[in-house]
């Protein structure tokens, strides 16, 4: 099993969710994060003085998938999150050693 961690633009979350659920992937966990990268932040004004705020609000989606779902899931996320602009974000993949569903004690692929 793999854990896909996608850092994307916040307003793309719904699109990505829809794309994943079309692959039959229903479960995921969303965190509001702040991103630093190539995409520039914004200027803020405070009583006439300007400040540069360099973080950008991002959404981090964590999706655990079966190994055989990985490629499709990656492509689905990539396609749905892409707007062609800097700051569209990144996808990270790590190996999952174990997954347990708390309620049923199921583990492994069954737990997803």
């Amino acid at each position: 099993m793999k854990m896909i961690t996608a850092v994307i633009k916040p307003f793309k979350v719904d699109d990505v969710r829809d794309a994943l659920s079309q692959l039959g992937i229903q479960g995921m966990t969303l965190t509001e994060v702040k991103g630093f990268g190539r995409q520039k932040g914004h200027t803020e004004l405070y009583r006439g003085a300007e400040y540069v705020v360099d973080f950008v609000p991002k959404a981090k989606l964590e999706v655990a998938v079966r190994d055989d779902q990985l490629e499709d899931a990656l492509e689905a996320i990539r396609a749905a999150a892409n707007s062609g602009k800097i700051g569209d974000g990144k996808i990270f993949v790590t190996a999952l050693e174990q997954v347990i569903r708390i309620r049923t004690h199921e583990s492994g692929d069954d737990a997803l």
Partner: protein
């Protein structure tokens, strides 16, 4: 009797001797309301305005400062403050001590205002003035926000009220006061409230030193919606502050309300336009700051000028206070955290000066209510400058001494680590928000 002299000789009249028939119920009704409005300016108005502008780790410390000052200033005003300002039997510099604990102020004690025939309960006048004694030290909070220790802050505010605010109130608003006798025009507190608070703020910022990280690290407001809420309440409450200072429900009060409102709108508009031009975008914080500048600046002039004069005063307030803020914070790098001096101090100075000009009844559509007999624009402006310099210097000197003395008793600032952690947890064991 000349209107311009008519404002506030009342504290000195022998009390208790008036028949109940003499009371003006309309004036009393308005003064009761105005008192509530001025209290609302501090709580929750100013408290929210200031608290929204600090970082969220310090939000409660600011609210707490405003509440604690409101309590202590009220109690002190009852005990000795009122009598030091308005007590009978004083001299040109300080009131007599006949009204300690509001002695001699009974339920049926009336006080005359110089509006012929308008008498109001002296307890009401004392209460109205108490709300001014509350807001003035509270205004200073903005200067030392995010770093001053609570105990030191409270001690300083208490002694400052007695050593700076009460005497200057006597000078300007009691008919024995030396500036009153000079003919200084300060309708609702340009010198008494805004110059004293603004100058004290500057001194406090210098004595305490800048916040850790200033000026490299931006310290952005944590909740501009809170600041905007406070700003709205300040605007509304200021009707009580300025129009209430007419001590009557008459044309003078009405004109003061109108001037106040116009100046607020003009100050906000001017600040907004400057930001728009210089930065390309106007900001919410900008418009409300300009509004406060407009309000502070019209305060000394409000009952003496007309709406045309108020328009000019408000526009100048927006422009001058904007550039003053830039100069103090960005050029001089003085960390008056919430810009009390450039907004209130500079506004108070500007307004006191302009009151001397726009009180003239010879300016066409920009005319005011006219000077006292024998007074010219030149002589009036001279008196206004005298008032500005005298109150400014006295405040600066005494504030400096008081802060140094308080600093001997108890440290003024929290430690560097405590400043990083935030005053709410360090000083009050509380957090502002726990929103999930």
């Amino acid at each position: 009797m000349n209107k311009l002299l008519s404002l506030l000789s009342l504290g000195l009249l022998p009390a208790g001797a008036f028949a109940a028939e003499g009371i003006d119920p309309g004036a009393s009704a308005w003064l009761l309301t105005a008192t509530a409005l001025v209290l609302m300016m501090t709580l929750p108005g100013l408290a929210l305005f200031y608290a929204g502008l600090v970082r969220s780790k310090n939000v409660l410390s600011v609210l707490m400062q405003c509440f604690a000052i409101a309590c202590v200033a009220s109690l002190l005003w009852l005990v000795v403050g009122y009598t030091m300002a308005f007590g009978a039997g004083g001299n040109g510099f300080i009131g007599g001590f006949g009204n300690v604990m509001l002695a001699q102020v009974f339920e049926n004690t009336l006080t005359a205002t110089l509006s012929a025939d308008v008498m109001v309960p002296e307890s009401l006048f004392a209460m109205f003035q108490m709300t001014f004694a509350v807001i003035t030290p509270a205004l200073i909070c903005g200067a030392y926000a995010e770093r001053m220790r609570f105990g030191a802050m409270l001690l300083f505010s208490a002694v400052w009220l007695l050593a700076v605010y009460a005497p200057i109130t006597h000078w300007v608003w009691h008919s024995d006061g030396w500036l009153f006798k000079e003919g200084l025009l300060d309708f609702a507190g340009g010198t008494v409230v805004h110059i004293t608070a603004g100058v004290a703020a500057l001194v406090a910022a210098l004595v305490l030193g800048p916040r850790k990280g200033f000026p490299q690290q931006p310290m952005m407001p944590h909740n501009l919606t809170m600041a905007a809420t406070g700003a709205g309440l300040l605007w509304v409450g200021w009707f009580g502050f300025n129009a209430g200072s007419a001590l009557a429900a008459d044309g003078n009060a009405a004109m003061a309300a109108l001037s106040t409102h116009i100046s607020a709108a003009a100050g906000a508009f001017a600040w907004m336009c400057i930001e728009w031009i210089r930065h390309g975008k106007p900001s919410a914080l900008g418009i409300i700051t300009g509004m406060v500048a407009g309000l502070g600046t019209i305060t000394p002039a409000s009952g003496y000028v007309g709406p045309g004069g108020a328009l000019v005063i408000g526009l100048s307030a927006g422009v001058v206070c904007f550039f003053a803020t830039m100069a103090i914070k960005r050029k001089l790098k003085i960390d008056d955290s919430l810009d009390v001096f450039p907004v209130h101090g500079v506004g108070g100075i500007l307004g006191t000066f302009l009151a001397g000009i726009f009180a003239s009844d010879a300016l066409g559509v920009f005319s005011g209510q006219g000077y006292a007999e024998g007074v010219t624009m030149g002589s009036q402006v001279g008196v206004q400058l005298l008032g500005i310099v005298a109150t400014g210097l006295y405040t600066a000197a005494v504030t400096w001494v008081l802060l140094k003395l308080v600093g001997l008793v108890t440290p003024l600032r929290v430690s560097s680590d405590e400043e990083t952690e935030g005053l709410d947890l360090v000083l009050h064991d509380e957090r502002g928000y726990d929103i999930r």
